[in-house]
Amino acid sequence: MQAIKLTDALIEERKNSITVKGSVEAKQKQSLTCDAESVAGCVSQRACVYCGARVVLNPVTDAIHLVHGPIGCSSYTWDIRGSLSSAADLYRNSFCTDLKEHDIIFGGEKKLAFAIDELVRKYDSRLVFVYSTCVVGVIGDDLEAVCKAAAEKHNIEVIPVQSSGFIGNKSAGYRAACDSLLRLIEPNSGDVKDIVKIPDSINYLGDFNLAGEVWIIKSYLEQIGVKVNVAFTGDSHCDALKKAPAAALNIVQCAGSMRYLAQKMEEIYDIPCLNISFIGLQDTADSLRKIADWFSNEAMLKRAEKLIEKKTAEVKPLLRNYRKKLEGKKAAIFVGGGFKAVSLIKQFKEIGIDVVMVGTQTGSQEEYETINDLADEGTVILDDANPSELEKFMTEKGADLLVGGVKERPLAYKLGMAFIDHNHDRKHPLSGFVGAVNFAKEVYSTVCSPVWKYAKD
């Protein structure tokens, strides 16, 4: 395998954020630097705290999502996600206090209060999330007070989301969102100990129902006899979320965004949690077993095995066909969270593809260790990359395709490389057994497209 010299990697301050598995440098280095501030001028692919919060909360379908800030924050996030709803669709609007110079000077609290009044009067909703943005953090509007007053006035939930853009990165936004969710589910009265647990029930954390993924997983779980109490936050609504404390177990899909919430729920409501993953064939099967195992219910286990057998038999031949076409191709991964990267490495293995570069925007130390364990020798691993680094490593490692988000797509295409969207705006499910096939199909459709015949020299 071709050796990569990190010395000509581009920016000094980024050195500790990049490593090559098995290299001398990697062995000397303690560990990869992650969860650090982005370096100025590095053209980071990362977003902000507000972005993280918005991603997590946006799928709450019957909430008024009100952005307290300038118009940009609101317009860049208006209905760009593929989260589906089975009923309400208020979440597909983007409401904003649209702060102007005058508000910056004199404060925006009054405007915010009026905005809430107006919206509550106009739309039938029991829940308002108020997102704070950069500028609000600086001018020091007291979101807490405004929300509290509004909640009392209208007798509904008005919950602030402390997501000022500059107070950290996307992960801090996940936390802010989880804090708001915790406030929402907190029982108004009574002792936490009195909550009656629903037997064989779970909360499903960290799935945003992109292209109906929550529905797919829910159906699997119901088939094996698990009752899904509420999903956080895909296709959820105020009343359902409030029932969360009654679940017997929390399962966590997107750990990056929801591990914190699971931990808190364990502390407060005594709900244990399981990390699972429904991405890829192997992970899906393993997760179903793990859940049935947790309930130590013989019948449930049997049903799980039956379901796995049936579904696997359906998809295996399809995957085998794709595998034949894809065997030996090389993939690069650059996605938001570490959890997704880990699942993707496994999923690529299932279809015979080697991963040569793995990076994330917000992976944690632990996740990078798992990535390192799973990766082949020579794989470039990097945190918070920029386009120049992506270009350099993908080219040097001879990647045939990249998995990433919207910003990465044109770069891959310009490099003559295939591309898979693993972003929040996708329109087809990548979870569960169907998702595994969809994934392989998408990889095939891009890697084996006739277009590359004309694009290679």
């Binding site: 100025a40 300038p70 910003k407 044109p410 310009k414």
Partner: protein, 466 residues
Amino acid sequence: MKKENLHYKNVNENPCNMCMPMGGILPFKGLENSMVIIHGSQGCSTYMRRHMAEHFNEPIDVGSTSLNEKGTIYGGGNNLKRGLDNILKVYQPGLIGVLTTCLAETIGEDTERLSAEYLLERGMPDYPVIPVPTPGYGGSHAEGYWLAVRKIVGKLARETEPHNKINIIIPNISPADIREIKRLLQLMQADYTLLPDFSDTLDRPYERSYKKMPEGGTKVSDIIRMAGAMATVQLGLTVDENYSPGLYLEREFGVPFYNLPIPMGVESVDLFLKVLSDLTGNDVPECLLQERGRLLDCMIDSHKYNFQGKSVIFGEPELVYAISRTCLENGIKPVVVATGSKTGRLSELLKPLLDEASEKNFILEETDFVTVRSKSKEAGANIAIGHSDGKYLTERESIPLVRMGFPIHDRVGGQRLLSVGYTGTTMFLDRVTNKLLENKHGNYRKLIYQNFYRGTGRKKLCCPGS
């Protein structure tokens, strides 16, 4: 005719515009070998890059000073300087634009002073760094765009020997449109400097061996000489005086100033070519006259269908103006004309024209999509023309949308849409007419059945044709 004043609004429901720094990025992407850095926290630049990447389908590299809590409290000077260092190292640009955000402006960052300081410290006093104050709360992306162009000209243009070039200053139109305007200029044998020119940089041809800095864009040396040009033709009728680069060149350097609409529609293209003809002394060539003839032919072919069109038009003021004029020329009545920008110009210019065409119409400035939607319904609009965020008009009100302008993020090819010149107008008009026809053909069986069929109706047979 009603002009809605929405300035008192406490809440914007579904924005019709983006923020100032977003607009400011574009002109810098149209300068040769240039980079931009946004002074503020990381998210803004990432969001803007995402939006632009989706519209243009091009990698959009934009730096951020990644301001964090510390920088916000103690000042972001160091972040800016480190950011400039890193941009210079990785991209080696010939010019850097520094835009601010709401955050940087609120904490009072003086990017003018900081940049000057930086250049002195690094011993490169003549390197072009162009700061543009673009607070996110200051105006829409349209204002950001014009202010950036204005600042670029202000910073670079220098007293020069008079020469025969014509300055062409353009609004935010598609790369395909820019190429068409350049073709018209060539056919008119006009010598020109077009600013900003992102026709190649944001719509580059596929080629092997990727270049971080795309080729193309207006040359700095040409911008310097804009002060000595024979005239400025600015396609910016709706632009505020303070943001107008053409007006600046006239006032500062005495360059004769022609402010024209985007050459879209017969009258506006005629006018554009006439001005060029006057300036160059060259006649409009035969091939363009033929294109004009073809446009007229297209207009005749479709006039009856278009007569049924009642349009809602939204987006950046300059484009909205051009589209409205084109609609009017073709018998399509603009019943709702809307922009998220604050500009008094649009209604001033359009009010008399719209009133003549229809009794009831709305001109909305600083508006949002909830308003646009309700007015469109009220006015009975049956076709929408504007960017992707108007998709709700289709989804919720069944008003078909012809995508045009920026951003187009739910379809491919925003950068390839051609709508200016005689040929572009023809293509635009066909897109609109066909959308009207598609809608009509898709619905007329059902509608007529509902309206007129009064029989008992046989059960629907399953076999077609029987």
